[in-house]
């Protein structure tokens, strides 16, 4: 039963992504959709860590930025092909995440949050100050993404790539969640001691999911570097990390589609709120507070539970 609903969800999303460009009147909207897609990919990965394993990361923009800057620097300064640069970035981020995961994930609650926060900020400082390599606060242009003579150009081309990658990420995430690993993770979320007692190697699973979510962020970052005309360090800073966590919590923790909805919603909302000009932050804040007060489990799980109750 569970398997069927998973495929149904993925299929529905695929159909939605396929028809969405038809409904978008111009490239500006496609651009917003692409940005939402990038955020959604990171959030689906981050949700594995926050929603399922119950571990917080306030430094995920750091991994995103590290992947992005790896690509940008290797391609512009060293003439690497973008695909190789992307893989190198993913491997580097994976190794860094693996190396820091063990000591860091021993911490709990606020201490874990502080440690991940620290790592994110360190990455951000390095990017900002190593201006000779990264271009400093002015940023760096990674150029277009090329693969064997084919150049990825224009918002619409990018849309299909990001949509494809998003589907792949969601497929991976839902697969992981429904596997024995997923069950172990949820056990870990419920009670770490309990999970250990029944023989779950909690540390191993925590490290694994931390690395997976960091690598997903890195791959999204590498592609993002080629998508934007100029990559700036603001994409790797503390506020971006907070934004990502907010998207996950807003959409609904422990819900892959929740992370997706949260990312899409919070990427597009500020664009529509620009008509309110100076009141934009107040309205955005109001919506956030309202959701957190009335739907503490997040948007998607609350609505899903509501529909279920109506049916029965």
């Amino acid at each position: 039963m569970k398997g069927v609903s998973r495929w149904a969800g993925l299929g529905a999303l695929a159909v939605f992504l396929a028809v969405l460009p038809q409904a978008l009147p111009n490239n500006y909207y496609v651009d917003i959709a692409v940005l939402a897609g990038f955020n959604a990919i990171i959030c689906v990965g981050l949700n594995l860590l926050i929603g399922y394993a119950g571990q917080i990361s306030l430094g995920h923009a750091g991994f995103f930025g590290l992947g992005a800057y790896c690509s940008a620097v290797l391609v512009t300064h060293h003439g690497w092909p973008p695909v190789l640069a992307l893989l190198a970035g993913a491997i580097l981020v994976g190794l860094i995440a693996f190396a820091i995961a063990r000591p860091i994930l021993k911490l709990k609650g606020h201490y874990l949050a502080m440690a991940t926060l620290g790592i994110g900020i360190i990455i951000s400082i390095v990017i900002n100050t190593e201006a000779g390599i990264t271009g400093g606060p002015d940023g760096i242009a990674a150029g277009p993404f090329t693969l064997g003579g084919f150049t990825l150009q224009g918002e619409r081309d990018w849309y299909w790539v990001v949509a494809g990658l998003l589907l792949l990420t969601i497929w991976l995430a839902t697969n992981l969640v429904d596997s024995p690993v997923g069950r172990a993770l949820r056990a870990l979320h419920g009670s770490e001691v309990g999970a250990e007692v029944v023989g779950v190697d909690t540390t191993r699973y925590k490290v694994m999911v931390f690395v997976v979510s960091a690598v997903i962020a890195s791959v999204a970052g590498s592609l993002f570097a080629h998508y934007v005309p100029q990559l700036t360090p603001t994409k790797a800073d503390f506020f971006k990390s907070i934004e990502l966590v907010t998207m996950v919590v807003f959409g609904g923790m422990a819900s892959t589609f929740g992370a997706l909805v949260g990312a899409a919603f919070l990427t597009t909302l500020p664009q529509f709120l620009t008509v309110f000009e100076d009141y934009e932050p107040i309205i955005l804040g109001g919506i956030m507070m309202g959701t957190m007060i009335f739907m503490p489990r997040g948007l998607v799980p609350t609505i899903a539970a509501f529909i279920q109750r109506r049916r029965s």
């Binding site: 490239n27 400093g136 005309p229």
Partner: protein, 384 residues
Amino acid sequence: MSMKSWKNLASAAAVALTASFGAAQAAEPIKIGAFLSATGPASFLGDPEKKVLEKYVAEYNKAGGIMGRKIDLILYDDAGAADKASSFVKRLIENDKVDVIVGGSTTGTTMAAVPLVEAAGMPFISLAGAVVIIEPVKKWVFKTPHTDRMAAEKIFSDMKKKGITKYAMISENAGFGKSGHDETLKVQGNYGMTLVADETYAPKDPDVTAQLTKIKNTPGVQAVINWGFGQSPAVVTKNYKQLGISAPLYQSHGVASKDYIKLAGDAAEGVRLPAAGLVVASQLPDSDMQKAVVVKFQKEYQADFKAEASTFAGHAFDGLQMALAAMQRAGGTDKAKVRDEIEKTSGYIGTGGTVHMSATDHMGLNLSAFHMVEIKKGDFALSN
């Protein structure tokens, strides 16, 4: 809401839509797009720019618009972030379908917009300082403020008069500050200047005492140049005073605003900088062609906003005037024609000086419009 009230709402909306559509058909408005840093760290640039654009567009509309068409100003606040600027420029081009863009308060936000306007063929007048915006010349990109290179040249010629040959530099590590730093190094040879100490800091650093101490302890420093805008030049100025450095301090035109004097307080006394005539409007000699223009602008701005106009307000004014004049000469909003006409702008006397653009010069200002200004008793004083 009941079914009936929904229906009412829908029909009201339909009426409103058709009404606005009818009006639009009568005379399609001219659409001017703007992206400014009206909030955030560069707000002292973007805020007056926003005020000026809104004020003068409203005045044009009150007088019936231009060429019988109203002007529609579509303005976004990028908060000084390059990525936001790039997203808003896409929006202006793709969604709002504006006829011309006037904006880009900082060098960073402007440079984020450049590839987009170039690809789309959109005439764009930037309000930012660095020379990289117009060098190499970009087909669709123009700018109104003086360049950082001109500021460096002006400062050097002033130093030369005072017999200074060895100077130190402290600059922001990004955008305008970095560009100014690089341009200064390029032109120092022409004036026989030698750089003896070179320090940098981040735009948001709350204290630069360490860097200034190094400069203080470097032998032979006769003057110091600071490149930056916003809070940071005020921080440098304050620390400079606290350390009791006696060499004269030069700032760039990036601080030509009363806000800088307010932030730096007494420490700003005696600081020298190159600036457009606007900040010393009433002190200009009557023979100066610019005087009438800047005095009038200064008066209008003060009447509306109860504050003295900074040169940044003037940049927006000049940008708007040049864009509208070009449209009038082009007889419409055809982008290629408007671009050609902006390039042909010649003899326009604005707040920045007299503008003579050409195919190789998309700014059209020379050093004559730049005045050396010294801060005396909390105000700008002409000191050529």
